[in-house]
Symmetry: C2
Amino acid sequence: MSDPRQTPLVRSLPSTVPFVAPERLEAERGVTFDARLGANELPFGPSPKARAAMAEAVEDIWKYGVADMPALRGAIAARHGIAPEAVTVGEGIDGLLGTLVRLYVAEGDAVVTSDGSYPTFNYHVAGVGGVLHKVPYRGDFEDPEALVARAAEVGAKLVYLSNPNNPMGSVHDAAAVQAMIDSVPEGCLMVLDEAYTEFAPASSRPEIDTTDRRVIRFRTFSKAYGMAGARIAYGIAHPEIAGSFDKIRNHFGVNRIAQAGALAALGDEPWLADVVEQVARGRDRIARIAQQNGLTPLPSATNFVTVDCGRDGDHARALLAALTARGVFVRMPGVAPLDRCIRISVGTEAELDVLAERLPLALRDLGAG
Amino acid sequence: MSDPRQTPLVRSLPSTVPFVAPERLEAERGVTFDARLGANELPFGPSPKARAAMAEAVEDIWKYGVADMPALRGAIAARHGIAPEAVTVGEGIDGLLGTLVRLYVAEGDAVVTSDGSYPTFNYHVAGVGGVLHKVPYRGDFEDPEALVARAAEVGAKLVYLSNPNNPMGSVHDAAAVQAMIDSVPEGCLMVLDEAYTEFAPASSRPEIDTTDRRVIRFRTFSKAYGMAGARIAYGIAHPEIAGSFDKIRNHFGVNRIAQAGALAALGDEPWLADVVEQVARGRDRIARIAQQNGLTPLPSATNFVTVDCGRDGDHARALLAALTARGVFVRMPGVAPLDRCIRISVGTEAELDVLAERLPLALRDLGAG
C-alpha cells in the first residue's frame, strides 16, 4: 500500500533496487561466492597511498567535510587541465546522475538512452517522472547516430552514452563520440558516462572542452581507482552546468574519508598504470577461459569481459544461475539480444582459477558442456 | 546565467550552500581557528571500536556496499526494539531529508516549520518547489501547537520539529511531542528530527511506535556518535514509509566505511554514556564562561550552548565576527529574535580554554567588554 500523502509520481513508482548485491544473493540463495566477478569492482583495491590517507582520515571523521571540496576539486581540475569550477563531486556517478535528472528532467520530459544500457540511469529518470525512449544497440555498440536522431525526434532533455559501454565492454573512438557531441540537438544535454575510461585507450576520449555546454562527462573512483565502496565520483562540464548542482545537491554528502582517499589516489599515477595492466592481463585470461569452453568473448575496453554464450537469453540466464549455484558471482545484460551474454569482471588470479574450474562444470550442469 | 534546458523550478533556484564550512571561512577570511566550536561536531570523536572498524573497512573499500544494509539496519532495529523494515539508512539526516521531501512534496505543496529552525530542511523543501510556511518560536522553543495549527490551515504535507532544537538547544518533554504527533492533521506527516536526542534526557523521547503513520523520526551518527564526516543517519517510521525511500534513494550511496563504523559504534554503549557526560561538563563550562562575561547561557539538551548576548542581531553578529577574527569558530541563529544569540558547540578542554581567553577580548573589540 502506498502512502496517499506521497506525491502522485512517487505513488506510481515501484520499490526497487537497480542491482542486487552479492552478499544479498548469498543470503537468499544459501551460496558462498568463491569468485566475486559480477559488480565490476577492482579486487586489487586502491593505491597504498589512498589506503593510508583513508586510514589517517578516520581520525578526523568527527568533522564535517567541506561542502565545495576545494583541495579535491583542484586536484581533479589540475589533472584534466580545467578550472575547478568545471568540476562537481558527488556520491558516486549514481549520486550525480540522481542530481542531474532533477536538474534537467521535469515530469513528462523525454530522455533517450540505449535499450540495455545502465539501469541506474533509467531508475533515476523514472524517479523524477521522465519518459525514457530507448534505442537499440547496433551490434554490441551503443549507436550514437540513432541516439541523437531519437533525441531530436522526441525533444529529449538528456541523451545518455557510456563510453566504454557497460554491459557490453565496447568502446567508440574519440571521433565518434565527438561527432555525437557535435550533433546533440538544441535543448538537449549529452550525458557521457566515462566510468570505465581509464581502462580504455586514450584514443577513445574526446578532448575535454568545458566551454561546450552540450555535454557533461562523469568519471569515478569506483572502477580503476578501486574505491567502489567509498561513493565518490565527479562530473566535468561547463562551469555553469557544474555549478548548478549546488542548487539541489546534498552539500555535505560526500564522506570525508572518501575525499581523502580520492585526493591521494589521484597522486599515484604509477599505481593506476599498473592496475590498468593487471586488468588487461585479467581480461585476456577471461577471454581464454571463455574460448576454452566454446564461448565467445567480446572485445573489452573495461575491467570486465562480456561473453557471448552462443544462444538466447534463457540459455545465458541458466548459465548464470549455474555459476551462482557453484559459487561464482557474475551478472548479465537484462535485454535481448544483449542477454545472450554473461558479464565477467576481472578478479584476482585465484578468482579466475575458480572461474576456470567452475565454468565447465556450470556448462555441464546445463547439459551443454 | 541559468541553463534554459533545466527545469523551470531549478532555474528559479539560487545556487547556495546551507552552511559555510570553517575551512572555507579560514581561506576567505585569512584566519586560523584555534577553537572549532561552530558546527556542533563532537571533538572526542567516535568510539575506539568504531575507529578500529573503520580503519579495517578501508581494506574492503574496493567492494560496493550492500544496498539494504541488513547488518546495520538489524542492529539499529534491535537497539530500538523495532523491525528492520521500519529503518531506512541514508547519507546523513541531510540526505534523508532530501529524499523525504521528494517523496511527499510536489511543486506548490505546503510545508510547515519554525522560523529559524534547520536551514537544510528549508533548502531541500525549496529544491522540490515546496512552499514553506514558518511559525515563530514561542520564546526559545519551537511551538508544537502553532505548528500543527498552521499545518492544518495550509494543508501541509510535512510539518517539522527538531527535539532537541537546533539552534536554540531547547527541548520539549515526551508528552508535548506525543501530543503533537497525536494532533498532526490528516494528510500531513510529522518530521521529528532527533539529531541531538542522545544528549537529552530520556524523558524527552516519546515511545517509538512504528505502527503510527503520522510521524517519521531521524537519528544520526554525526552528533553523539562523533562521525559527522561519515555521512550516515537513519529514519524510523512505519515500514511502508521507511520502505518507500527505496523508490527513489541512491541505493548504494552510503559509504562502506561509514556503515562499518556505525555498526561498531552501536556496540559501544559505555563510550556513548561517557561522551554524554563529557558533553554535559562542557556545556556547564560554556555556560560559566558566558556568565563570567555578562552573557546569558540558555538551558541546553544538546552538545552546544546558545548564548543570549543581551541585545539585537547586529550586536550578536558583530560579536560572532570578532570571535571569528580572533580564531574562534561559532555560528548563530539566522532569524530575529533568535539572532540575539550565538551558538557555541562543546569542544575539547583546550578549545574551551581558548574560548575563555578570547570571548572577553572579542567583547572588548566591540567596545562592550
